[in-house]
Subunit: 157 residues, 2 copies
DNA sequence: GTCATTGCAAAGGATTTGCAGTTCC
DNA sequence: GGAACTGCAAATCCTTTGCAATGAC
């Protein structure tokens, strides 16, 4: 189902959040994206529609939505925080070339056995698998890099 | 086997790295730790022995060792970077209370099937499972917090 | 009307960079 | 001797905080 503005506003109300244009736009942008955008990505995406929007508001909004349980922080590495509105249990694949993150919905991964070798009193509540590798495009660059006589990296941006 | 200074220095030589007292001390501290320390942790640990050591050097050394493949960056969340000299394939458990990281060596986790639903041309090269939960000590605090009439958090530091 | 939300500016913390002096090979 | 390494300081980047003005309910 497409998430209409009414859907979003109702969702906010259910969570006890005020519904403002900025907040709605930020959440909508996140819901519509599968790219696990950063705060700045969202800012760039919503900014054209709301030129007055400040990056600070994006951070604030994301922290509110995260506290309300409407979005998750998906952190790959310790660099900038990335966000995800996909709340169903899933895992991620990260391309080590372009740093893009894809969702992995494979249900087999949701049935891993508890790991052995932990202290008895450690209680596992959740887990996530992070696959790393190279997407098609980045593999091509890698190959041309490897075979290139100069050994130089292809232009990356 | 205990990693002697000679072992370390030979390792450095094999990787084409110069062997300096600071570098050796930093690497040794990391090898001897299972706590996945941050750069600052290592700085604090080595500092007493090398009072002239600068935090910058720790960062520089860690990046050199990482490039050489002698240490791995283990990033849980997007906060400060944490490092690990344990190169054998393993996974991690993170306590959401104290943020401590434990190694999980369960070999079953090293045989996960490739996930379904990926683009055909995506090549997975590795993966890591990050378990989250609460260690014994933090579970106790949680329970006492939950049952405490005031609902206040126990003093955390 | 009240309180959450917003925007702006400034602070904060982790990490990187520039550069001169030193040390290892 | 030359290149890599070190230390210090300053810069950078992402994120948070303070505060006054605005807007939702």
């Amino acid at each position: 189902m497409p998430l209409t503005l009414e859907n979003i506003q109702q969702k906010f109300r259910e969570c006890g959040l005020k519904s403002t244009p900025q907040r709605t736009a930020i959440y909508q942008a996140l819901v519509q994206s599968t790219a696990h955008p950063t705060a700045e990505d969202l800012f760039a995406q919503v900014s054209p529609t709301y030129p007055m929007l400040s990056l600070n508001t994006v951070y604030y909004t994301l922290s509110v939505l995260r506290t309300a349980g409407l979005v998750l922080e998906v952190n790959i590495g310790h660099d900038r925080a990335r966000f995800d509105a996909n709340l169903s249990p899933h895992h991620h694949v990260i391309c080590q070339g372009c740093q893009n993150i894809l969702d992995v919905m494979d249900p087999r991964l949701n049935r891993l056995a508890s790991p052995s070798g932990l202290p008895d009193d450690f209680e596992i509540s959740s887990y996530q698998v992070a696959f790393r590798g190279y997407c098609g495009a980045c593999r091509k660059s890698k190959i041309s890099m490897t075979t290139s006589p100069s050994g130089k990296r292809p232009v990356s941006s």
